[in-house]
């Protein structure tokens, strides 16, 4: 298809700026990046090669399928997996050339028997997923040494996650890190209607006066929450307006008043506040969650496309 319908545009210059900012803040720490869950919704296929070009040395994902996908995009880098079935035989780890993070002696032994090239050891922190106790850690390190398997502690392996993409599980990543993702669609239809007309399913919004309604082809089928209607904003040319009525599966509406932008004008749902666009963090605040969930739960339907970066 020629015209873009709905798109997640990945700003590779913003990603590069975030990598530079990370280097500055950490005084040149190695770049180990958490890219699980399709790089927090940003799209592995766009993000992984770009990060490899920006000097990433390791990619961390949750599961084996993700490790294979990353390996296909990054032949040189270390690939670490963090989540394995309790009876996983790690037969896949050789093919993916992946290093598993292990959380128990039993898990270590299964990985070692499969001949993995190395392991990351997860220490128990007293909360969250169980890890290796101090005693088990010592035992595993001795055993790894005896078997000749390189082992490193997870605490010696600092990983940067969502923040590198300008979102966070802990509040706003801006202004420290720039948003990398822009979710947008071209304005698909305009319609002049009178006052008091219901808009979208359930008529949860009614027009106050004669106005122009715009149809935007993004919906919860793309990962824009259904409850975002009448709550969050979308922008046209840097002017943001609250979504009018319920977000449907495939579309939402904007009430434009007497504005009349041309069909095809980009409408941005998630972007950068410096361009007058609503951000993932703003959406998250309105919906009672964090920005990382907003980008991560975008679906595969809007295509991911890189913009900028090194040609």
């Amino acid at each position: 298809m020629s015209a873009p319908f709905r798109e997640v545009e990945i700003d590779l210059d913003a990603l590069a700026a975030n990598v530079a900012r990370f280097a500055e803040l950490t005084e040149g720490a190695p770049l180990f990046v958490e890219v699980g869950a399709d790089a927090w919704g940003h799209g592995l296929a766009v993000v992984v090669p770009a990060l490899a070009g920006l000097g990433a040395q390791a990619f961390v994902v949750a599961r084996a399928d993700e490790a294979r996908a990353v390996r296909a995009l990054a032949p040189e880098q270390l690939v670490v997996t963090t989540q394995h079935a309790p009876d996983d035989d790690f037969a896949w780890a050789g093919e993916a050339d992946a290093v598993p993070m292990v959380r128990s002696i039993d898990e270590f032994r299964r990985a070692a028997e499969a001949g993995v090239q190395g392991v990351v050891l997860a220490e128990d922190t007293g909360e969250g997923l169980p890890g290796l106790s101090a005693e088990d850690l010592a035992a595993v390190m001795a055993e790894a040494d005896a078997r000749g398997i390189p082992a490193m502690l997870d605490s010696a392996f600092p990983v940067v996650g969502a923040e590198l993409f300008g979102v966070s599980e802990f509040g706003d990543a801006a202004p420290e890190f720039e948003p990398v993702l822009r979710l947008w669609a071209p304005l698909a239809a305009l319609k002049r209607v009178g006052a008091g007309e219901g808009v979208s399913y359930g008529y949860t919004y009614r027009t106050a006066a004669e106005t122009t309604l715009a149809l935007v082809t993004l919906g919860y089928g793309d990962g824009v929450s259904r409850v975002a209607g009448n709550v969050v904003r979308a922008s046209i040319d840097g002017v943001a307006r609250t979504i009018a009525g319920r977000v449907a599966m495939d579309a939402f509406m904007l009430d434009l008043g007497d504005e009349a932008p041309a069909l095809g004008t980009p409408v941005t749902v998630l972007g950068d506040a410096r361009r007058g666009e609503p951000t993932a963090h703003e959406h998250a605040e309105a919906l009672g969650t964090h920005g990382a969930e907003i980008t991560t739960r975008l679906t595969a339907r809007p295509r991911r496309a890189g913009k900028g970066g090194r040609a």
Partner: protein, 364 residues
């Protein structure tokens, strides 16, 4: 063979049974199965293929990418495939060549279809595309307004005269705001049909209703009812279970218990291998449950790759945890998950992430 860390099991036998039930319920109207948004997360190609095997002859695709993919996957000309939402500047050449039924909401869209048809006219195998003219009956999304309608119909009839298109259907979306509003939408659609026939258009098929109104109201079924949610066993109206309306949920989301840890006050926390990175909404924490060995355990927190649950009874690490499904293993249904987390079951299944493998259980 170890059970996967997370999987969405799609029961094609349940889909087959739902489709048989719904076809019977809406008869003599025809049932169109709507597979937009990857069949609400169930997988558009396997679902569409099963629908055809189950006797369905109309499939709703939403966009041309989906429609063309269905044709490429072997869904043949005996099955009509309808697309109705296009980006500005859409090129219809491929769609016409693939025999996709095309909805038309505006003169601009009609013009683009005519342009593509004119390019193909005279080439081998050219068949003028069938049009579903769309009227706005109150939802105010796409569809021609009543004021624009006669000009749109007249232009379509003229293009038909030139051999470029075939007028075929008149349709609309219904707002499902109230019975009165829906009745008004029906009246507007029927008036639009009269206008279209008066202007010389063929209106072989009239369609308006989707899952909810299509099952509840005989008068809005007309010639065809478009359904998504009900096909996958997700009731689209309040106060009923899937079984109450003769349906079985098609998707079951399964994960594993991957760890436990003593929690506060003698409780035990369980860690389950599915998180918001798999599409589980974070606001299922404090509202929904997960079933292990037939018992429900409350969701306490949703992290990217795992859930934290309060283990209400003994469970061994490695056991399968059912997030939602039919209820046969003691779990909640996706409709319940939707209700409890403030949305529709449709949104839950649609947003189950692409990283969750789908496993298809064949119909016998």
């Amino acid at each position: 063979m170890s059970a996967p860390l997370v999987e969405a099991v799609i029961d094609l036998a349940a889909l087959d049974a739902n489709l048989a039930h719904l076809q019977h319920a809406v008869a003599p109207a025809e049932l169109m199965v709507v597979v937009k948004a990857d069949a609400y997360g169930h997988g558009r190609v396997p679902v569409a293929r099963q629908a055809v095997t189950s006797g369905i002859r109309s499939i709703g695709a939403l966009d041309l990418d989906t429609a063309l993919e269905l044709r490429a996957s072997g869904i043949g000309a005996e099955v009509s495939v309808l697309a109705w939402l296009y980006p500005p500047g859409q090129d219809f050449t491929e769609a016409i060549a693939a025999g996709i039924d095309l909805a038309v909401s505006s003169l601009g869209e009609l013009q683009a279809i005519e342009d593509a048809a004119r390019r193909l006219d005279g080439t081998a195998g050219f068949a003028a595309p069938r049009l579903h003219l769309k009227l706005d009956t109150g939802l105010h999304r796409n569809g021609a307004t009543a004021a624009e309608w006669p000009a749109l119909v007249a232009a379509a009839v003229a293009a038909e005269g030139a051999g470029l298109v075939r007028t075929h259907a008149v349709w609309s979306h219904i707002a499902e705001a109230s019975d009165d509003e829906d009745t008004l939408a029906l009246e507007r659609l029927l008036a639009g049909v009269e206008v279209a026939r008066g202007l010389g258009a063929t209106v072989a098929v009239r369609h308006l209703a989707a899952s909810s109104a299509g099952l509840r109201r005989e008068d809005v079924r007309l010639d065809l009812v478009r359904m998504g949610g009900h096909c996958w066993g997700i009731p689209s109206f309040d106060g009923v279970t899937p079984a109450d309306i003769g349906l079985t949920p098609v998707m079951t989301l399964r994960a594993r218990l991957i760890g436990t840890r003593p929690g506060p006050d003698g409780t035990t926390l369980g860690f389950v291998s599915a998180g918001y990175g798999d599409g589980v909404p974070r606001n299922t924490a404090g509202t929904c449950t997960v079933a292990i060995r037939g018992a429900q355990h409350p969701v306490l927190a949703v992290e990217r790759d795992h859930l934290v649950i309060a283990l209400a009874s003994a469970a061994r690490v490695g056991e399968v945890a059912v997030l939602f499904g039919t209820g046969a293993e003691g779990e909640q249904t996706v409709r319940q998950w939707g209700d409890l987390s403030g949305t529709l079951g449709d949104e839950i299944t649609t947003r189950i992430a692409a990283r969750v493998p789908r496993r298809y259980v064949a119909a016998q």
